[in-house]
C-alpha cells in the first residue's frame, strides 16, 4: 500500500463512521424527542391523543385523589387552564399539592393525561425550571403561585421566588 492509499483508507473509514453516527442521530431525533407543554399550550395546540409529551405546571390544591392499588389522579394547572392527570405508581418525595410538577405521557381519548412518569427533578427551591419559565412567561409567577399555594407550601414558594429574583 502506498502512503496515499493508507491515508485514504483511514479517511474513508472515519467518514463511514461519521456518516453512520449522523444517520443514527437523525433517526433518533425523529422518534425519541419529547416536547414540553403546559395545560394552556395543550388547550391551544390541540395535541392529538397518543402523542407523547411532557406536561408541566402546578398541582392544583385539593385535586389529589388516591384510588385502589396506587392509582392517583390530580389536576395540573398553570393559571390559564387545567388538565386532569392519571398516574399509577409511587409519587416522588417532592410531589406536593400547590407545587410544580413535570409528568411524561400522552392524552387519552377522553382528554385525560395518562402519565407514566412523574418527575422529581427539582432544584433546591422545589420548582422545575421548565415550569418556572412557563409560568413567568404567562405572568402567573409570583402572585398566582404565592397566594394559591397552601400554607404548608408557601414557605418554599417564597424560597422559589427568591431563587429566581437573585
Amino acid at each position: 500500500m502506498t502512503r496515499k492509499q493508507r491515508r485514504l483508507t483511514i479517511i474513508g473509514g472515519s467518514l463511514a463512521v461519521l456518516a453512520l453516527a449522523a444517520a443514527l442521530v437523525l433517526n433518533a431525533m425523529r422518534d425519541s424527542i419529547v416536547f414540553f407543554s403546559t395545560p394552556t399550550m395543550v388547550a391551544e395546540k390541540h395535541i392529538l391523543p397518543g402523542r407523547r409529551f411532557r406536561l408541566g405546571g402546578l398541582v392544583q390544591p385539593g385535586t389529589l385523589k388516591r384510588g385502589d392499588s396506587l392509582a392517583v389522579t390530580f389536576e395540573v394547572a398553570d393559571g390559564g387552564a387545567k388538565l386532569p392527570v392519571a398516574y399509577r405508581g409511587i409519587l416522588p418525595d417532592l410531589f406536593r399539592e400547590g407545587q410544580g410538577v413535570v409528568a411524561e405521557g400522552a392524552l387519552d381519548a377522553s382528554g385525560v393525561f395518562r402519565a407514566d412518569t412523574v418527575l422529581a427533578k427539582h432544584d433546591e427551591t422545589y420548582m422545575p425550571k421548565d415550569v418556572a419559565d412557563a409560568l413567568k412567561k404567562q405572568g402567573h409567577w409570583k402572585d398566582d403561585y404565592g397566594t394559591k399555594a397552601n400554607a404548608g407550601a408557601s414557605q418554599t414558594a417564597q424560597g422559589a421566588a427568591q431563587g429566581v429574583k437573585q
Binding site: V17, V25, A28, D31, S32, R54
Partner: protein, 660 residues
C-alpha cells in the same frame, strides 16, 4: 476572622496565579532560567494559599459560624460532623473552591515532581495552569465568594439539602473533580507544546501518567455517582442520561480516547496532532461540564440556586479557553511534524479505530445534551432528549468498538495480522457463543438482544484473558515458565487486560439489570407478603425514630427464600423539618452480585404503606466493571516505564526521520 483570612488567602492565591501566568512565559522568551523557575515556587505557594483558604471554609462549616452566608445557607448545628465537612462542597461556592483547590494541587504536583522536564516546557505548562486558575479565582471572588458575611447573624442555619446528606457526597464530588481538573494537565501540556512548536514521544510519556491519573479518578467518580443515585434517589435507576451525567461522561469518553492515542504517540511517534487536539477537547469538555452544572441552564440535584451572572462568567471562561486553544491549535498544528507510518491493520490502526468510535460516541452524547439547549435558545421550543435517543445512537456505536477491543492488543505495531489475531481469539469467540447459547436456552428464548450483548461482554473478557494467556504461554508451556513470564510481563499489559475485562463486566451487568430486573409496586399492610423473583418479603411493621436532624419512619421486612428466613431489611423515609423535605432511604440486600431493593412511598390513611421492591440481577457488575477499569489504570500507572521517569526529549534533528 477566619472568614476574612480565608478570603484574603484566596486573593493572594489569585495574585500568585497572575505572576505565575506571566513571568515564566517572559522567562522562556528571554531564555532566563531564574524567571522560568518562578513558575515552580509560585505554583507551590499558590497551592499553600488556596489550601489555607479551603481549610478556612471547612473550619467555618465545622464550627457552624452562621454569620457567614455560605454556612447559614447550607449547614445546621445539629448536622453530624461528617456532613458538616462534606457540606463544604455540597453548594455552589464551596464546590468551586474545591475545584480551584484541586487545580492548584495538580499544578503543585507538576511543580514538585516535574524536575526532569525541560525548563521551558515546565514554565509553559505551569503558566497555562495559572491562566486557568486565574480565571476561576476571579470567578469565585467576583460572583461566588463563599466567605461573605451576613449583617445580623441568625442563630440557626438552613441545613443542607437532605438528598446530599449522605456519605456519597464525601466521595463523589472530590473524585469527579480530581478527574475533571486532572485533564487540565494534559491540556496545559498540549498548549505548551503548541507554544513551543515542538512535540515528541517524550512529551507523550509525560502526558500519559497525568491523563491516566485523571482518568482513574473520573472513572471511579462517575461509577460512585451512579451508585449513589441508585441507592439514594429510591427509583432503583443508576443512569438517567441526565445532562449532568452526560457532562461527566463526555470528558470520560474523550479522555479514554486520549489515553489510547497517547500510547500510539509514545510508542510510535504517530498521531501527534490528533493527541494534542484530543487533550484540548478533553479539558474543554470538562469545562463544558462545569458550565452545564454550575450555570443553572439545567435543573437537577446537582444544580444549586443559581444566578445568571455566574452562567455568563463561566460561559466567558469557556469561550476564551476553548476558542483560544483551538485558534492556537489551528495556527500551530502544522508545525508539528507527523511521523511513524503504519498500515490500516495494525496496533496503531486498531487504536485509531478506538479513537474514532469513542469520539463519535462522545459527539452523539454532545448533540443529545446540547441540542435541547440550542433549540430553546433559537426557537423557544422546549424539548427533552432522554434515554431513547441515547439508546438509539450511543449503543449502536459502542457495539463495533466492543467487538474490536479484543483484537487491538493482539495486533502487532506497524503491520498486523488480522487472521492470526482472529485465530488466537478463537477460544474467546467459542466461549462467547457457548454463553450466548446457554443464556438463550435458560431464559427461554425471550429477548435475542440481551443474550447477544452478554455474549459480546464475555467475548471482551475472554479476549482480555486470552491476550494474557498468549503472552505468558499458558496452556502451552510448563507452569514454571508461565509463572516467570507472567511476573516479567509489563504491568501496563496487565493493566490494559484488566481495564478491557472491566468494560465487558460492566456490559454484562448493564444488560442483565435492564433486561431481567423485576419490579413490584403495591400498598402493603403489616403482615402482608410480597413475592418478587422467588423471594418472600413480609412487612413486619412500621416504627418512628428520631435522628439527629430528622424524623424517620422505618419499615421492617423479613426476607425469605423457599420458606427459609434470610435477612431483615429496614428501608426508611426521613423527614427533615428545617427544609420541609423528605428523603427515601432504600434498603439493599446483596446476594452474590444481585440485589434486592426496597424503597418506601407514602403512608395511606388506613395504616398501609406504598412499597416498591426490585430484584436486580447482577446489578453490582455495573459498578464492579468500572472499579476493575480503574484498577487496570492503576496497574498501568505503576508500570516501570512510567516510574523510572521519561527520557530526554529527542534532539531537534528532523532530518533523520523516516520518510517513505
Amino acid at each position: 476572622m477566619i472568614a476574612e483570612a480565608g478570603h484574603y488567602a484566596l486573593v493572594l492565591a489569585l495574585a500568585l496565579a497572575l505572576i505565575q501566568s506571566t513571568v515564566p512565559i517572559l522567562g522562556a522568551r528571554l531564555g532566563d532560567p531564574a524567571l522560568m523557575n518562578v513558575a515552580r515556587s509560585t505554583a507551590l505557594a499558590q497551592l499553600a494559599f488556596v489550601a489555607a483558604s479551603f481549610a478556612a471554609l471547612v473550619t467555618l462549616h465545622v464550627t457552624s459560624d452562621f454569620s457567614v452566608a455560605n454556612v447559614f445557607e447550607n449547614s445546621h448545628s445539629l448536622k453530624p460532623l461528617i456532613y458538616k465537612i462534606t457540606g463544604v462542597w455540597g453548594n455552589h461556592e464551596g464546590s468551586m473552591l474545591l475545584w480551584v483547590s484541586i487545580l492548584a494541587l495538580f499544578g503543585g504536583l507538576v511543580a514538585a515532581f516535574g524536575n526532569n522536564l525541560p525548563l521551558s516546557l515546565r514554565a509553559h505548562v505551569l503558566a497555562v495552569q495559572a491562566w486557568i486558575a486565574s480565571a476561576f479565582y476571579l470567578f469565585i471572588l467576583i460572583t461566588s465568594n463563599p466567605f461573605l458575611r451576613i449583617a445580623d447573624p441568625p442563630i440557626e442555619g438552613r441545613d443542607l439539602n437532605p438528598v446530599l446528606q449522605d456519605i456519597g457526597l464525601a466521595v463523589h464530588p472530590p473524585m469527579l473533580y480530581l478527574g475533571y481538573v486532572g485533564f487540565s494537565i494534559s491540556f496545559s501540556f498540549a498548549i505548551a507544546a503548541l507554544i513551543e512548536g515542538r512535540i515528541d514521544a517524550a512529551w507523550a510519556r509525560w502526558v500519559r501518567p497525568w491523563t491516566l491519573v485523571a482518568w482513574i479518578f473520573l472513572t471511579l467518580g462517575i461509577a460512585m455517582g451512579s451508585y449513589w443515585a441508585y441507592y439514594e434517589l429510591g427509583w432503583g435507576g443508576w443512569w438517567f442520561w441526565d445532562p449532568v451525567e452526560n457532562a461527566s461522561l463526555m470528558p470520560w469518553l474523550a479522555g479514554t480516547a486520549l489515553l489510547h492515542s497517547a500510547l500510539v504517540m509514545e510508542k510510535r511517534n504517530a498521531l501527534k496532532v490528533w493527541s494534542v487536539l484530543l487533550s484540548i477537547l478533553t479539558f474543554s469538555l470538562s469545562l463544558l461540564g462545569t458550565f452545564l452544572v454550575r450555570s443553572g441552564v439545567l435543573t437537577s440535584v446537582h444544580a444549586f440556586a443559581n444566578d445568571p451572572a455566574r452562567g455568563v462568567f463561566i460561559l466567558l471562561i469557556l469561550c476564551i479557553f476553548i476558542g483560544g486553544s483551538l485558534t492556537l491549535f489551528a495556527g500551530r498544528a502544522s508545525a508539528l511534524k507527523q511521523g511513524g507510518l503504519f498500515a490500516p491493520i495494525s496496533r496503531e490502526g486498531a487504536l485509531v479505530l478506538n479513537n474514532l468510535f469513542l469520539t463519535t460516541a462522545c459527539a452523539t452524547v454532545f448533540i443529545g445534551t446540547l441540542y435541547p439547549l440550542a433549540l430553546e435558545v433559537l426557537t423557544g421550543d422546549k424539548i427533552s432528549v432522554g434515554a431513547p435517543f441515547f439508546n438509539l445512537t450511543f449503543a449502536p456505536l459502542f457495539v463495533p468498538l466492543m467487538v474490536a477491543v479484543p483484537f487491538g492488543p493482539m495486533l502487532a505495531w506497524k503491520r498486523g495480522d488480522l487472521l492470526g489475531a482472529a485465530q488466537r481469539l478463537l477460544a474467546a469467540g467459542v466461549a462467547a457463543l457457548v454463553v450466548l447459547a446457554l443464556v438463550w436456552a435458560w431464559t427461554g428464548g425471550g429477548s435475542t438482544l440481551a443474550p447477544l450483548a452478554i455474549g459480546l461482554g464475555v467475548f471482551v473478557i475472554a479476549g482480555a484473558l486470552s491476550d494474557l494467556a498468549e503472552r505468558t504461554g499458558a496452556f502451552r508451556m510448563p507452569l514454571a515458565i508461565v509463572a516467570r513470564r507472567a511476573a516479567g510481563l509489563p504491568r501496563s499489559t496487565w493493566g490494559s487486560a484488566f481495564a478491557h475485562a472491566g468494560v465487558g463486566v460492566a456490559l454484562i451487568g448493564i444488560v442483565c439489570e435492564t433486561t431481567w430486573n423485576s419490579e413490584y409496586i403495591a400498598t402493603m399492610r403489616p403482615d402482608d407478603i410480597a413475592k418478587v423473583a422467588g423471594y418472600d418479603l413480609r412487612l413486619d411493621g412500621l416504627r418512628q425514630q428520631q435522628g439527629p436532624n430528622f424524623r424517620e419512619m422505618i419499615a421492617r421486612f423479613t426476607v425469605g427464600l423457599d420458606g427459609e428466613r434470610l435477612a431483615v431489611m429496614t428501608p426508611s423515609k426521613r423527614n427533615f423539618t428545617t427544609r420541609d423535605a423528605s428523603t427515601t432511604e432504600a434498603a439493599l440486600l446483596t446476594r452474590g452480585f444481585s440485589q434486592l431493593y426496597i424503597s418506601l412511598g407514602e403512608l395511606t390513611g388506613d395504616g398501609a404503606i406504598a412499597v416498591r421492591v426490585y430484584h436486580k440481577p447482577l446489578v453490582l457488575l455495573i459498578w464492579f466493571g468500572p472499579v476493575l477499569m480503574a484498577f487496570g489504570g492503576l496497574m498501568s500507572l505503576s508500570d516501570r516505564r512510567l516510574r523510572v521517569g521519561a527520557p530526554k526529549p529527542a534532539k531537534a534533528l528532523r532530518g533523520l526521520q523516516a520518510a517513505e
